[in-house]
């Protein structure tokens, strides 16, 4: 068994003990059970509900629902996968209730087919650590993720932001592993194409020796 598997197993045992305690009346332990997953629940809600305030509300509702339904958690799935599925349901219900027609201008990218040409450049190889401190970079990332087609965004948020495995992502979303892989690939490449020229511009002032290669198909 790898160290990581052993750690996962220890965590699952710890969670199982907490759940038993909560169900036997030690309700306060729910704070401890949920704490490691706050970020994951919020990001999952945000993958469907693009408004931050509303995503926070959906995240709270999902966590309350998980508390109320805790007795139905069977332990055959991971607690995190169960929690993400509840959050996605809560978010979908919210979208339906709002009867909101979200016009997604990028929906035409939603097909699994299609051609893709990446942004070509040769000077963005390192992630400068100071870049992360800069608000502009974060805003560009937020915007690019928000603009992905819904089905791509859900996959890339679970897989690359929350770092679930491909199998866990498929399980949480109720789609096949091969569909997760296709959507993940296209989402990553759309982000690459969208972000790389922008990030490059952000850094232009700092780095003068960059070279943008123009390719014949551009």
């Amino acid at each position: 068994m790898t160290t990581m598997q052993a750690a996962t197993e220890r965590q699952q045992e710890h969670e199982a003990r907490l759940i038993t305690a909560i169900l036997s009346g030690d309700r306060e332990k729910f704070h401890e059970l949920i704490r490691p997953y706050e970020r994951q629940v919020y990001l999952t809600a945000l993958s469907l509900i693009k408004n931050e305030t509303e995503a926070e509300d959906v995240a709270q509702e999902a966590i309350l629902r998980a508390y109320r339904k805790l007795g139905s958690f069977r332990g055959d799935a991971k607690f995190s996968t169960w929690l993400i599925a509840i959050t996605l349901n809560e978010a979908r219900t919210r979208l339906r209730d709002n009867k909101r027609a979200i016009f997604d201008s990028l929906d035409n990218h939603d097909s699994e087919e299609g051609d893709y040409t990446p942004a070509a450049l040769t000077d963005w190889r390192e992630v400068p650590s100071e870049a992360l401190e800069r608000q502009e970079i974060r805003e560009l990332m937020h915007k690019a993720v928000a603009e992905l087609p819904d089905s791509f965004r859900q996959v890339v948020v679970l897989r690359d932001m929350e770092e679930l495995s491909v199998n866990e992502t498929a399980e949480a979303l109720g789609i096949s592993i091969s569909l997760v892989k296709v959507r993940l690939h296209r989402a990553r490449l759309l982000l690459q194409k969208r972000l790389v020229p922008l990030l490059r511009m952000e850094w232009k002032g700092k780095k003068k020796n960059g070279m943008l290669r123009r390719l014949p198909w551009f």
Binding site: R39, L64, L132, M141, K181
Partner: protein, 84 residues
């Protein structure tokens, strides 16, 4: 098999996730070794994945946790989980 750039782009995600079969992996690596464009696409895609996973890029709203646990306190004080 000799791959062109588009073949390599189609496999970038699997390459990064380490899920290419050994023969394809060797072909992709052979192409990357001499193609500056594809290796730049690979590096930048990988960098975006690193940024996506970085907690500083997608932060929780300020006091998210405080508000959540305050709301939880109200519910935990008055409700038990539903009996199954």
């Amino acid at each position: 098999m000799v791959l062109n750039c588009r073949h390599v782009w189609d496999r970038i995600s699997d390459y990064i996730d380490g899920t290419l079969d050994p023969a394809m992996l060797a072909d992709v690596e052979k192409h990357l070794a001499h193609c500056e464009i594809c290796s730049a696409v690979l590096d930048s895609t990988r960098n975006i994945i690193i940024l996506m996973a970085d907690d500083r890029v997608f932060e929780l709203p300020i006091d998210f946790s405080k508000r959540l646990h305050a709301r939880l306190d109200l519910v935990l004080a008055t409700e038990s989980p539903e009996s199954v």
